[in-house]
């Protein structure tokens, strides 16, 4: 697996290019040659049933899997938000956000990142003192503070309750409008994908089975008839009966 990170960014070049990514666990092939590009500022949702290898693909793109083959190039910086918040329990919120952060004005950047997720007041709290939604927002701040060109999101709201999930989706849309980062959103939630993504990729049978642009405009609601049509189409492709 050749994985490299190029420092400089050229406007025309995609922020992520992956080619012929393969991964097998023993005799079980999970990814059989996946090609993927993400343009700058583009949000791509990766949809698939459980066990379809979508999280495996994200881990490979994040450089966390040394045993995959193929190439993957990230031009710029990438940050990851996992399904669990993965905050270090022995560090206060601000220290967690600033983990491994280098460069000038660290404390100021941490403060701004926490303010952006609405947790400016909790910088001295321990992770154990936060609710699930708050902890996940800190995890988002930890990714944001690195000013990533690409955000890799592995079912980031999957462990949250329905109401918190809706709020987090709105938060992510706002942050994306402000920062213009590209993102790969791994999810099994069709509505979430339709709300957040510019393009949806369907992972099925170890490869990308379908690609679908989402032309719903910046303000989307599930009440939109076009939204409903796309939703039915996607659920149909995923093998879920909608009638």
């Amino acid at each position: 697996m050749a994985s490299r990170t190029a420092g400089h960014l050229n406007g025309a070049e995609p922020v992520l290019t992956a080619h012929a990514v393969r991964r097998a666990f023993g005799p079980t092939v999970v990814l059989a040659g996946v090609d993927l590009t993400i343009a700058r500022g583009e949000v791509v949702a990766l949809l698939g049933g459980s066990g379809s290898g979508k999280s495996t693909l994200l881990r490979i793109l994040a450089g966390l899997d040394g045993e995959a083959s193929g190439t993957s190039v990230v031009r710029g910086t990438a940050a990851v938000v996992f399904q669990e918040h993965r905050l270090l329990p022995w560090k206060r919120v601000a220290e967690n956000v600033g983990l491994g952060l280098s460069g000038a004005d660290g404390p100021g950047r941490i403060r701004r990142a926490l303010a952006e997720v609405g947790l400016a007041e909790r910088d001295r709290a321990w992770p154990a003192e936060l609710s699930g939604g708050q902890a996940q927002r800190v995890a988002v701040a930890r990714a944001l503070v690195r000013e990533p060109d690409l955000l890799l999101l592995d079912e980031p709201f999957g462990a949250l309750d329905a109401l918190t999930r809706l709020r987090m989706q709105i938060l992510l849309r706002r942050l994306r409008a402000e920062h213009g980062f590209a993102a790969l959103l791994v999810t099994h939630d069709v509505e979430e994908a339709l709300l957040l993504a510019d393009r949806i990729l369907l992972l099925d049978d170890c490869r990308i089975a379908a690609e679908l642009p989402v032309d719903l405009g910046p303000t989307r609601t599930p009440d939109d008839p076009a939204f409903g049509a796309l939703r039915r189409h996607l659920l149909d492709r995923l093998g879920v009966p909608t009638t």
Binding site: A62, K91, W126, P127, A128, E129, R146
Partner: protein, 277 residues
């Protein structure tokens, strides 16, 4: 009469509700003191009335008086210092060795394969049973006492270091990697703090084992130390000094354990938050 109780009862109940837990806790704490105090008083009484022969078990007040006398003439201080020195030296040697080997075995697969099997085998030996062999190896001097303490302290620290490192959530290490932390930084920010609660547990068990080893070690040809004090007193049937020695050992254990608890609470503040939720 019955009418007044009926009228008053609800007031009492509502007033009592918030007070009950506050009032009950100190009351329970005091209740737990009752039986130990009664035991000591009974012991004192039995000794004073001659029910307990003084050479079998002297009165607690006599033991305390002996303690005061030996502290004043400096005897207790000298022996205590020697015992503490042995315990400290043994703990330091055994503890450091355990820390290094436990870390190597916990972090590196090669270290695990090479270090862990012999340690697991040696663990099965009761280390106090090694006294005859140790006497042959290192003699009956100071090195015997220190070796025994070091052996006693080694195993709890080794196993808890090893387990502490192994039990660290792999997902946290991964998250630290995505934050750009290199190997050394991951060791410092993730592995060390993650293993710290386990290290504290190991240290507490090790200190307990150290005192136990000291009790046994100081009964072999010691010229100083609390154990020597007790052995010597036995020969002259000074039961009060023997009981005093036991008391000192118990106090040493209590003090070291409480000190470690305080240190633990300071260094593991984040766990208090964990318990509160």
């Amino acid at each position: 009469m019955s009418r007044t109780t009926l009228v008053e009862a609800p007031d009492e109940v509502t007033a009592a509700v918030p007070v009950v837990p506050l009032r009950q806790r100190p009351a329970r704490r005091w209740r737990r003191v009752v039986s130990p105090v009664a035991l000591v008083l009974g012991w004192e009484l039995a000794a004073r009335t001659g029910l307990l022969a003084a050479e079998k078990l002297p009165a607690p007040s006599d033991v305390l008086a002996t303690g005061a006398r030996l502290s004043r003439d400096g005897t207790l201080g000298i022996h205590l210092l020697d015992s503490l020195t042995r315990a400290g030296a043994g703990l330091l040697i055994g503890g450091l060795l355990a820390l290094v080997l436990g870390t190597v075995a916990g972090l590196l697969r090669l270290g695990d394969d090479l270090v862990d099997p012999p340690v697991q085998m040696a663990r099965m030996l009761p280390h106090l049973g090694l006294v005859p062999l140790l006497i042959i190896w290192v003699g009956i001097g100071e090195s015997l006492k220190i070796s025994l303490v070091a052996l006693g302290a080694f195993f709890p620290i080794y196993f808890n270091t090893y387990a502490g490192i192994r039990d660290i959530d792999e997902r946290l290490v991964e998250a630290a990697r995505t934050c750009g932390l290199g190997q050394a930084a991951r060791l410092r920010h993730v592995v060390l703090p993650g293993a710290l609660p386990s290290l504290f547990l190991g240290l507490r068990l090790a200190i307990g084992a150290a005192w136990l080893s000291l009790v046994v070690g100081e009964q072999v040809n010691a010229q100083t130390g609390i154990g020597f004090l007790m052995m010597e007193a036995r020969e002259f049937s000074q039961t009060d000094v023997v009981v005093l020695g036991l008391l000192v050992y118990a106090l040493l254990g209590l003090i070291s354990d409480s000190a470690l608890r305080v240190l633990e609470r300071r260094m593991l503040t984040w766990r208090r938050g964990l318990r509160a939720t």
